[in-house]
Amino acid sequence: MMRRLREAWQGIKVGTWLGWQIESNWTEPFLFAIYAVIKPVAGVLILVVMYLVVAKDGLANPLFPHVFLGTTFYLYVVNVLSGVSWTVVDDREHYGMLKYVYLAPMHFYGYLLGRGMAKTLLATLSVLVTLLFGVVGLGVRLSLDDPKLLVGALLLGLASLAFYGILLAGVSLLIARHGWVVGDVVAGGLYLLCGTAFPLSLLPWPLRALGLGLPPTHWLEALRRALLGSGLHSELSRLTSAQLLLILVATTALGGALSVGIVGVAERIAVRRGLLDMQTMY
């Protein structure tokens, strides 16, 4: 038991360190900082322009702060979900490392979790910068009326994202190089289905029902309530904040269990089919 824990810790430690090195040491710190700022801010600016062009009251539209906040925290979804699943393809086909990681006496799952941690750190930087830009540049007013809800939702949401990212990494083990988009597809799907930038009521009912069953919908709604004092989706308005947190606890636990199961199965299939050092570029 102790040895398993030690191996898991070793995996997390190495994964985090390596992930951070790969993400950050390709250029000078100054350029890296610019890179970390430009991407997320540009993403938000697309929405800003859309609102300015079409919405009658521009950024004063009551939807805008909710849309801004959803899009900002969605950066975690992109980075962590897509990032962790991409890790598998990158390690396998680019660095040729996956097989060595796999056979090292550390926990493979822990290693993926560590890579997710590095992505989370990087995403945190982007989220903070974007929030700052929103408050200072776009006049979004944030309140901290419910810090417990903020911290609780944030931590549960991040853990949940890491678990689902690992789950996707398991899937990526089995598919070709272009499978890196599996993370992007899921992230893109979540952007749509979770009503990240528009009210869920606009979606046709089957999609709306699906969106209401997805953890990031509740996560983003909880964060909106914590930082703006109100949510975006009328469908969730009857839930109390405590109920929202409870749903997050349940979905995070489910994500954890599913990720362990799916990575385990994917590992076995990958070993059986010899996919750990597959080269599928074309």
Binding site: A176, M278, Q279, T280, M281, Y282
Partner: protein, 337 residues
Amino acid sequence: MASYDLAVKTEGLTRIFRLRKREARDGAREILALDRVTLEVQRGELFGLLGPNGAGKTTLIKILATLLLPTSGRAYVAGIDVVENPVEVRRHINMVVGGETSGYGLLTVEENLWMFAQFYGIPSREARRRILELLALVGMADRAKTKVYHLSSGMRQKMNIVRGFLTNPEILFLDEPTLGLDVQTARTIREFVRRWLEEHPDRTILLTTHYMHEADELCDRVAIIDRGRILACAAPWELKTALRQEAVFRLRVEGIADAKAALDGMPEIRALAQHAEDGQLLLDLVLASEEALVSVLARLSASGARLAELRKEEPTLEDVFLALVGRKLTEDQDEHS
């Protein structure tokens, strides 16, 4: 000899790699990879570059193959300056690097090879004929339709070899072609290389290796390279004959930890290498004459060593390397690894 009569000619070829500040090694910001290398390879020759890892073999090949520029000096391939006219050089050459795969995993062996043939302008029908012929020669005829990512590393290497020969190059660079391969695959590749040269006597191969028996078995001439410098260049038999005037002994001794220290300062010792094995010390000695052995044994005995085995050996290229460099090729690899 004029450069156009030769397959390869280099004059004072030097390559220095500059490091960034944070990559500096012991404060040094430069690595001297090639140090004034002057070399001539005749047309039709199978020429070997023998040296340990990091000796500069691959750097030299890369310069000759137009993938890297020298810092100074000149290099000609098929009489053409590799710096001035790389495009023209490429019409005459091809290269195979051991341990590397080529092409795309999703394509079949035949498709990958066909793709490379297209880059050399070989008509499809002719390319397919050559591909099948060469695959048969390396024992891979039944793998033509197999996707590359299903191949073993030995098979991939054979495919890579076929890619090099497919274009029927005037001059072919083989950089450690049997690196990391099993004995049987390495032998197949060596036999294939030899047979190809017999059938194409006007072609030239420049082969780098750190396997002495490979150089010994295949090469018409060998240049021994270490730390960027060519130390000797001749036919393997000539190099070994030169050493025959000296005496090569293998000793196995016990009761001593460092024979090098014990024998230090003896002028009759041309070269000495030692390594421990099963509690004993194995010594490779190159002596100025057989008579010198007596004083060597006496010195060892005085240091507390007991002789367990003594053999007089016919010199090998390994001994040539030892005599030239002062350490064994394999010893260097141990250090590197």
